[in-house]
Symmetry: C2
Amino acid sequence: MKFVCSKSNLVSGLQIVSKAVPSKTTMSILECILVDATEGIIKFIANDMELGIQTVVEGNIVERGYIALDAKIFVDIVRKLPDNDVTIESDSTNKVTISCERAKFNLIGRKGDDFTYLPSIEKIDGVTVSQYTLRNVIQQTIFSIAENDANKMMAGELFEVDGENLKLVSLDGHRISIRKVKLNGSYPYKKVIVPGKTLGEISKILGDSIEKMVNIYFTDKHVLFEFDKTTVVSRLIEGEYFSIDQMLSSDYETKISINRKEFLDCIDRATLLVKEGDKKPVIISVTDGKIELKINSAIGSMDEEIEIDKQGKDLMIGFNPKFLIDALRVIDDELVDIYMVNPKAPCFIRDKESTYIYLVLPVNFTTVD
Amino acid sequence: MKFVCSKSNLVSGLQIVSKAVPSKTTMSILECILVDATEGIIKFIANDMELGIQTVVEGNIVERGYIALDAKIFVDIVRKLPDNDVTIESDSTNKVTISCERAKFNLIGRKGDDFTYLPSIEKIDGVTVSQYTLRNVIQQTIFSIAENDANKMMAGELFEVDGENLKLVSLDGHRISIRKVKLNGSYPYKKVIVPGKTLGEISKILGDSIEKMVNIYFTDKHVLFEFDKTTVVSRLIEGEYFSIDQMLSSDYETKISINRKEFLDCIDRATLLVKEGDKKPVIISVTDGKIELKINSAIGSMDEEIEIDKQGKDLMIGFNPKFLIDALRVIDDELVDIYMVNPKAPCFIRDKESTYIYLVLPVNFTTVD
């Protein structure tokens, strides 16, 4: 095999497929990137058996062929090459030469016959959404995936297509994040659970263009994302996702409208007094026209007032500050509405159209004065 | 005690003195910053008993007094405050309040009576140099200080003032770095060994202005650096530094002139093939008009040619790539001259005026073909 392509094309291609190279594995072939120039195009493929990514790199093929190369060393070498055309060549003994200007690297590749290509997915009933939108809805929900795998369903996000709507849901037992976006057409109903890892890696590869699109295809076991020259295939999490609707409620006793940035900065300051692993709540007292936010810890105490608009009852309620911060960070609105019932019932941060709903469970607290 | 000053002034002051707060210590008072507003100015002081830093922060004192505050929490709080005036207040029970806009933090400070102020140094026979120059000469030599304390002298740098010249020297047994700068006047002879840690921290505080100056004062046991509103006092390393001059030589058998950036990038690429801790040398073959650089490791091999100007004999010599990289990185010249004798003798990278001299010992290698 022999082909020539620019360093920058190589770097971009490698950055994309590297996302599917596992950091730890007992199968050393998974640590490789397959370079496949057998079909007249140059394809890079990585596959950790859960998530597989394939991308096409522009370049000139001199001799067709394929070879698997250790991902880490391949990426490191390409990154440090001069900014010029790079020639990659392999011979029948799997000796690989990477050369650029006067620099020449010799490596031993692997035959690549034991490399697993991406599963083939029939591309029917695809859903189309802009890269910008998909990246956003992922980033706006992914933080409330459960970190440990106690419940495998919680390690994924619900991906629901219903007519013109795409809905993403994640939950970890203490909170739920829901985002809805309008699609540019009506699609058949689909409901799958996509692993959080897949969504995390995809959101890093997706561009921020609202004009470049992603096509998404589903089968019973897999989801396929197709954009630019890249194909991402992931296994789905099997099972029935939680019934979200029965956890949501539009009843409230207290509703406040608050400046998002002020509220976020204030909670952020309060967390200074909380050591990692320590579960100190922030305590929020809602009264007419203002909230007072308090935190007490072994380090010290803080209190701060913020002006609000209030409807309904006064209330004192405690929260894990991280959960409020996570939600407030991914909302774009200048003012957010927060709906509460009592110190034991879930609180909802949501907009009028419910394009976003963040449910956060309060925590118990003891008042100290 | 009570005073008011801007958040930005506080942040700058804390950043400076924090450099003298030890990360690990058994004396908890050393983890504090002393806030001293007893004399009509606001001073912040930190002192790890080796290195002490004091700086003056502009602000309005309402009530004189002093208090010691845990450095980490003090810095964290101030950094997250809104960008506005901050009031810091302590009462007779050492309760400290830090307030800004509507945010109010309560902490417990320490009386500060067991805090050690900086030793007082008589300011005579000071040497003056620009902040820019001092920062540069430190950064251009500090990397060849020995990392472990096998020899306490190697953990410091020689600081020698001789008439109009300031010379800094560091060495670690495998290499020597020497930088000379002209001073703006003639000074009495001084020769001290300053701990590497002190120089490292100072170089982070110094600005990059060639107009702002640093005054340096020496005693038998201490060195004092005075710049802007900051005073840095450090213990010296006691003892007689190595006799450098007898290690230097101007004889050579081979002299090459090489493009610094090309050479640096090339060695940098070669190190990709060297795993951390593995002591693979780069092997350089000098012939007429070019050098060929080779490295062989378990990962693979690399070779690359670079055009040079050569005087003298052909030569094949091996180096620890890190040592060459460290020296080449801190030289500004586009072309560097490298002087060599044979594969066992030290190599010198130096300019004609010897404003810099980097001595690097070669390493043994076995040729593989």
